[in-house]
């Protein structure tokens, strides 16, 4: 499989950033701590010959005892694919923003912030993207309680001057 | 031949009959009565034109874009506009809270009254101009220029940003296009030595001016389209960008007045084109003059609708380029060529 060459590179990178490499259904997954995410992604972007330089997707996942930011990396110049998972502390969900590497992370990080409350440090405009600004709670977290509309009464109040 | 003449002059005969009811057919009271009747006729023309044209527009739209168009109410959907007009009358009349009420309310009335004023000088047949003005073309253009003000009033009075943008666009567009419009007509005026529309029609007895002034006709049609805000120059009411421009906040009959005004203006511009370039009521018998006139107007209106439903909307900077860099030089060139032609003609004919 073409994963062979990539796997070598990923393992080398994993050693640098204290990450662990798995292979799930034909795809390499690199798990790192949140603090290493910029280093990891920069490393993945500059793999020799097979750079994973296209941020395909970024999403949050609730792992019950921790949160994850999942980066799907691909390339426009080859079949290589890599999934980077950054483990984030649930109590203090802070991670570095990757908007400095890919501008395309802008909306995606806002969405992850909106849905999981992950704070992306260094994001230019970290606001809720789908829900309204004064919405409380993070809907896609497992501990979010979905109540009927009558109970929650989510009626948006209009802020003066809007 | 007598019967034909009778049909040709049927309106004149009726007018004479009404005048003969008075002791002195040319007394002040007789003139006043005739003026009132003329006025009513022009109002009827504007309203009827709107009613018919709206339906026609939708039919043409259907035909151009390969769909049926209105086809439910009455035979082949012919009553659709009447139903729509009734519905409009039943609508609630809303004035926005922050609107400048006086300006907001008076703007549609001005727009509606303008085509009536302009249509009053058009000769509909031999001797059938409601008002026979010596400065006919001049009057026509002066009056139609007022509609710019009305659009700005509507745009400003509505207290809506879309309306304001639309109003500003109206100023930019209509003032720019007034100049080529005016200049394109000057060639004809130079040839006939008269502003009177009746005289201009008489002068086209042998050859309509479209053959002598083809460039002027093309410029007139383009500038006229822009002047009445028809696509591809409908930036004022561009629904994809400024929702409906100055009309955004209007409802019910006030909005209907804008509509009447729009179609009335369209009729007026087409009527002027038919008069100045296509020979007005002149045409080979056995068709009466006033039928000829309306047929010519109809052709121009059809062309306008056809263009509207085919072309996409032009961009505002392209619009300005077209007016100032293409149409204006061309119209000046046309005036120059006409002058040269007249000079040579006189030289050759020894006049």
């Amino acid at each position: 499989m073409e994963n062979k060459v990539l796997k070598e590179q990923v393992e080398k990178l994993a050693a640098q950033v204290n990450g662990e490499v798995e292979e799930i259904i034909g795809e390499l997954v690199l798990k790192v701590k949140a603090s290493y995410v910029i280093e990891t992604l920069k490393g993945a972007k500059s793999f020799p010959n097979i750079p994973c330089d296209f941020l395909h997707d970024l999403c949050g996942v609730d792992g019950v005892d921790h949160l994850e930011a999942v980066y799907q990396l691909t390339s426009l110049r080859g079949p290589q694919r890599l999934r980077v998972k950054a483990i984030i502390d649930r109590e203090n969900p802070v991670i570095d923003s990757v908007t400095s590497i890919w501008q395309g992370a802008n909306f995606l990080e806002r969405e992850a912030y909106d849905m999981f409350g992950i704070n992306f440090k260094g994001h230019p405009n970290l606001k809720r993207i789908y829900m309204w600004d004064d919405f409380e709670g993070y809907p896609l977290r497992k501990d979010y309680v979905t109540e009927p509309i009558e109970v929650r009464n989510i009626v948006r109040t209009r802020i003066e001057g809007e | 031949m007598d019967a034909l003449n009778t049909i040709n002059n049927v309106f004149l005969i009726i007018a004479a009959a009404i005048r003969s009811l008075f002791a002195d057919p040319h007394s002040v009271w007789a003139n006043l009565t005739m003026d009132v009747i003329n006025f009513i006729i022009v109002v009827i023309i504007v309203v009827l034109a709107a009613l018919i044209l709206i339906l026609l527009e939708r039919k043409v739209a259907g035909w151009t874009s390969q769909r049926p168009g209105p086809n439910r109410l009455g035979p082949r959907g012919w009553f659709q506009t009447i139903a729509d007009a009734l519905k409009l009358m039943g609508k609630e009349d809303i004035t926005p809270a922050g609107a400048d009420k006086f300006i907001f309310k008076i703007a549609p009335m001005i727009i509606f009254s303008l085509p009536m004023m302009t249509l009053a000088v058009i000769p509909y047949g031999n001797g059938m101009a409601p008002i026979n003005l010596d400065l006919g073309i001049f009057y026509f253009l002066a009056i139609s220029a007022i509609s710019t003000v009305a659009f700005v009033m509507a745009g400003w009075g509505s207290n809506n940003k879309y309306s304001l943008l639309g109003g500003m666009r109206a100023v930019a567009q209509m003032i720019s296009y007034e100049i080529p419009l005016l200049f394109s007509l000057l060639g004809v005026v130079m040839i006939t030595q008269s502003f009177n529309l009746g005289v201009i029609v008489e002068a086209q007895k042998t050859v309509p001016f479209i053959l002598i002034q083809p460039l002027a006709f093309v410029i007139y049609i383009i500038a006229g389209l822009a002047e009445v805000n028809r696509a591809p120059f409908d930036l004022v009411e561009a629904d994809q960008e400024v929702v409906a421009g100055p009309f955004t906040e209007y409802t019910g009959l006030r909005w209907g007045l804008f509509f009447l005004g729009e179609y009335g203006n369209m009729t007026a511009v087409s009527a002027l084109a038919a008069t100045v370039f296509l020979g007005g009521w002149q045409g080979p018998a056995p068709i009466p003059g006033w039928v000829w006139f309306w047929m010519k107007v109809g052709i121009i209106i059809f062309f306008m609708m056809w263009a509207r439903w085919t072309f996409p909307r032009i961009r505002i900077d392209h619009l300005m380029h077209l007016a100032w860099k293409v149409l204006l030089p061309l119209s000046i060139l046309n005036i120059f060529l006409t002058g040269l032609g007249i000079y040579i003609y006189r030289l050759v004919m020894g006049g």
């Binding site: 395909h56 395309g104 | 960008e241």
Partner: protein, 367 residues
């Protein structure tokens, strides 16, 4: 003496606006007619599909995917069911694969027709709009024959297809494919060949190749910026490796190329469907699938080339009948990031046109 200066006009376009393609809202700063800043706002159509997925079984979720990019619903079904099949390791019958390709490519044609139509409509080209919609009707008719619905088709299941197309489907498909060159000629004549349309689209809203890659743009917008990348070629899913087709690429990077590249793609789609119709084998259309779908613990990411961009599904399974996390990578949501960047300095009319060429469907953007 106070110095008078012009003020910027803050214009709020949408969510109720004729050219906002659904419920999109953008706050535009205007200097006269020129745009100085755009702030896109979305979420007016947010239904929380990702959250809903966590309380639905795997099969129950299929109809929800129809409501993402509702103009190309077979693609959403396809992406989702393939992701689940990949997770479960299911093999699906040949005939079902071919049918999926046929429906997917039909959806691509329909979606591109809507894009062309709505771009024309946003520039007031009414007739071009109705021409394209007239032809799209025929695809909707074919959907209706097969699945009973005209927009949200929902005829793919985990393990195959829900039903066989009826006998009258095949002649309708054939006549549609035969008529496509004529249709494209008509669109060219009424819209793309028009001087005004070209003046409004050409060299407007330049999205450079580097910017496109940096912004994670996918789909026709990326290919119109000169990048030859199509998931169907780069990482062939389903049976795309069996067909002979080209990936159209354009190098203009402007609104015009972003629109007309869809015409090229329609040509290629027709080519693919013709090959699929020629090669389709007889056989079952549904694999042996357990009654209760219970994928093993694991996670999978799968993407397909949706007409508007790459559509990806990322499913984390905890071994139960419901997904622990289902993530939708919506192409147009990410493509929309280019709007505030490329439309700076253009007129408000151009912004409307640029937004149309992005071909954003708010069902997918808002999820």
């Amino acid at each position: 003496m106070t110095i008078e200066k012009t003020e910027e006009l803050l214009l709020n376009m949408g969510p109720q606006h004729p050219s906002m393609h659904g419920l999109f809202r953008m706050v535009v700063n205007l200097e006269g007619e020129t745009v100085t800043k755009i702030d896109p706002k979305m979420g007016y159509l947010h239904r929380g599909i990702e959250k809903l997925a966590e309380s639905r079984t795997y099969s129950q979720f299929i109809p929800y995917t129809d409501r993402l990019d509702y103009l190309a619903s077979p693609h959403n079904n396809w992406a989702y069911v393939q992701t689940v099949e990949k997770l479960m390791g299911l093999e699906i019958p040949e005939r079902a694969e071919y049918l999926r390709v046929i429906f997917g490519e039909l959806a691509r044609i329909a979606s591109h027709q809507v894009c062309i139509a709505s771009t024309a409509l946003d520039m007031a080209g009414w007739s071009a709009w109705s021409y394209a919609f007239r032809d799209r009707e025929r695809i909707c008719d074919m959907y209706e024959m097969t699945a009973g619905s005209r927009l949200t088709v929902n005829n793919m299941r985990i393990g195959g297809m829900s039903n066989e197309p009826p006998a009258e489907f095949w002649p309708a498909l054939k006549s549609f494919l035969d008529d496509t060159p004529e249709m494209l000629e008509e669109y060219n004549g009424i819209f793309f060949g028009n001087e005004i349309a070209q003046g409004r689209l050409k060299s407007v809203g330049i999205l450079s190749k580097e910017l496109a890659e940096n912004l994670s743009i996918t789909g026709p917008c990326l290919r119109a910026s000169g990048v030859n990348y199509d998931v169907r070629k780069a990482e062939p899913y389903s049976i795309y490796d069996r067909f002979d087709f080209n990936v159209p690429v354009r190098y203009g990077c402007d609104s015009y190329d972003r629109t007309i590249i869809r015409m090229d793609e329609i040509v290629e789609s027709v080519k693919i469907i013709k090959q699929a119709v020629r090669d389709i084998p007889e056989g079952p259309i549904m694999a042996k699938v357990p009654k209760v779908i219970k994928p093993p613990v694991g996670e999978v990411y799968h993407r397909v080339e949706n007409p508007k961009g790459e559509l990806g599904f990322y499913i984390v399974s905890d071994g139960t009948t419901k997904p622990a996390r289902l993530r939708i990578r919506a192409g147009t949501f990410i493509n929309l990031q280019m709007l505030p960047i490329v439309s700076l300095g253009w007129k408000i009319q151009d912004v409307v046109a640029i937004f149309a060429t992005l071909d954003a469907v708010l069902g997918e953007v808002d999820k």
